[in-house]
């Protein structure tokens, strides 16, 4: 089952037919646009403090209201999109890269390499992930880079296991034996044959991972160790609005909705990819 153009088109068609997944994809695209072109959506600067206009409700001048230092909430949510999505993508990128590496090595080489790596995975899984993240962030500084790195470094185990399982099953297949007979080296086999087939489950894990990373960042912000103000992130805007949730509802509602729709979108898309790529679910 090599990657071939027919499969790809088939996959895309199935994915788009799934209305929920398509909706999720649309939401994701929308937020991508927002984070790529912030100027299009917000006219104020996100960090411009304006003491006179503290905690003003939505108005013509500030469509989503102002926060506790008079900063424009729309601008902060728009720039926060960039930050939150960046956190999600880099963290997942790290997790995926690491998981791919460990899974491929483990599944392909087997033997003691597999044993050692999998014991390591088991050990990592014994630690409660969130506390691992918390401890490391607390001990270092809560900078964006540390947050991304730590979420990534604690989230690769699932990908590793998935990739390993796929690799194990693919290793014994005919086309691999054929490639070997043709004299292909291990690296070539891994990259040309095994890797493409692990793409689908990785993609699924990645989309779900981005969703999870965004939620983790907002959890860290609640505890005061997420992305640090004045840099806006959806998590820290939401947290800032927490103590004034009743009368300054706009401060909680908009970042809350942003998180909700984005995470929802990624989950729907992820599921859609899983359904579309699963050969066993063909034809219903």
């Amino acid at each position: 089952m090599n990657a071939s153009p027919g499969i790809g088109r088939d996959f895309a068609r199935r994915l788009l037919r799934n209305r929920l997944a398509a909706a999720g994809g649309a939401v994701i695209l929308f937020f991508f646009l927002v984070s790529a072109l912030p100027g299009l959506f917000a006219s104020h600067e996100p960090n411009r403090i304006d003491i006179v206009n503290i905690l003003r409700p939505p108005s013509a001048a500030h469509p989503l209201g102002t926060d506790d230092l008079g900063r424009d909430v729309l601008a902060r949510v728009v720039h926060g999109a960039r930050v939150s999505l960046k956190v999600g993508f880099v963290a997942v990128g790290i997790a995926t890269a690491l998981g791919l590496l460990v899974g491929l090595l483990s599944g392909f080489y087997g033997g003691w390499v597999d044993a050692v790596l999998m014991r390591f995975v088991d050990m990592m899984l014994c630690f409660p992930t969130f506390f691992l993240i918390l401890s490391v962030i607390a001990f270092l500084e809560p900078s964006i880079w540390n947050i991304m790195a730590v979420i990534g470094l604690t989230g690769w185990m699932g990908v590793a296991r998935l990739v390993r399982a796929e690799t194990l099953s693919l290793k014994e297949r005919d086309f691999v034996a054929a490639a070997r007979a043709q004299g292909a080296g291990n690296a070539r086999i891994i990259f040309r044959h095994v890797l493409p087939n692990t793409l689908a489950p990785i993609l699924v894990a990645a989309t779900l991972g981005v969703a999870g990373a965004i939620l983790t960042e907002s959890a860290l912000s609640f505890l005061g160790i997420g992305v640090q103000p004045p840099t806006p992130s959806w998590g820290n805007i939401l947290t800032a609005g927490k103590d004034n949730i009743e009368f300054a509802w706009w401060l909680s509602l908009f970042p809350g909705l942003a998180i909700l729709f984005t995470v929802l979108g990624y989950n729907l898309l992820g599921e859609g990819i899983r359904d579309a790529a699963d050969p066993r679910l063909k034809g219903r």
Partner: protein
């Protein structure tokens, strides 16, 4: 089978030691120490009193000595005393938090199973229907909403505006003076919102898993056979398909064992629940090494136990996978 279990249990010990060593090193690599809080920026503390406190906690010993001491104590299941000013035994602090954490986790897990399994099954059987679509969005929404935000909104609605439920805490002020039934009702009253919210957040994983399992099973030959035999759809679904789709749930049960004693610090903070989540978080923030090590060790042990239970349970339930 027994040999397999014995082998796994034996493997647990070195794994636990390894995990504890890693935890120990990680904690000590972190800047700051436990007595910091008591004497930081306190005009009344001096270098001498800090040094004295440090010796008091045994922190002036080299790392391997500290670890060795801890390991030795653990061998006799002595978790040591907490570094916090109250100096109470770690085991005592953990024990007093376990009941409430366990209660909430068991109840919310029960809720999740009760709701997610039927929803997942029905979604699979009626794939693509309105129910399927709505339930998909609903469960993912439960996962996607930041817990503390939803919690506060629910508190405002049910606690302040309607006054139906208490806002936070796990018991009323006059809890002790109530009879058995009264105490139960009081506890239930207080835990209703937390359990509902915890359940709502956890529905997604279980229901989607159930759904995809069910979908896979439905397509199997034996289901087509059952249908061809003319059996009513209900029998097909419940007697044949579901039973097999439920098998992986056993794995989930096993893997959920470590989560039983874990708590979300955010959840517990918002609801003022004195649970394991808060205990661990505060331990980490105040560098309460014995407490952190104690909780991590218990957690690691439970994870390994849960994995074992899941593997054994699955092997027992699925005749295709019996181990020698």
């Amino acid at each position: 089978m027994l040999r397999y279990i014995a082998r796994r249990l034996l493997l647990t010990v070195p794994l636990l030691v390894g995990i504890s060593l890693v935890s120990f090193l990680m904690m000590h690599m972190a800047p700051g120490g436990p007595i910091g809080a008591g004497t930081d920026l306190n005009p009344k503390a001096t270098a001498e009193s800090r040094a004295r406190l440090k010796a008091y906690y045994g922190l002036d010993q080299p790392l391997h000595v500290q670890y060795g001491r801890w390991l030795g104590r653990m061998a006799t299941l002595d978790f040591g005393d907490s570094f916090s000013p109250d100096g109470r035994p770690v085991a005592e602090k953990i024990k007093e938090r376990i009941p409430i954490t366990l209660t909430i986790n068991v109840l919310s897990m029960g809720l999740i199973f009760l709701v997610a399994i039927p929803v997942g099954v029905y979604s699979a059987v009626r794939k693509g229907s309105l129910f399927d679509r709505i339930s998909t969005v609903a469960v993912f929404a439960g996962f996607a909403i930041p817990t503390f935000w939803l919690a506060l909104l629910m508190m405002i609605l049910f606690g302040v505006t309607l006054g139906w439920l208490p806002i936070s805490g796990i018991s009323s002020l006059d809890h002790e003076s109530l009879g058995i039934l009264g105490k139960l009702a009081d506890r239930a009253h207080h835990l209703l919102l937390p359990v509902l919210l915890a359940g709502f957040g956890g529905l997604a994983g279980m229901s989607r898993y159930m759904r995809s399992n069910m979908l896979e099973v439905i397509r199997q030959d034996y289901v087509a056979t059952a249908r061809a035999k003319g059996l009513p759809e209900g029998t097909v679904v419940f007697r044949h398909a579901m039973r097999n789709a439920l098998l992986p749930v056993i794995t989930i049960l096993g893997l959920s064992v470590p989560d039983l004693l874990g708590g979300s610090v955010i959840f517990e903070t918002i609801f003022a629940i004195p649970g394991m989540g808060q205990l661990f978080y505060q331990g980490v923030m105040s560098r309460d090494y014995p407490l952190i090590m104690g909780i991590l060790t218990i957690g690691a042990f439970l994870t390994l136990l849960g994995n074992l239970l899941a593997d054994v349970g699955y092997a027992l339930a699925d005749p295709r996978i019996r181990q020698g």
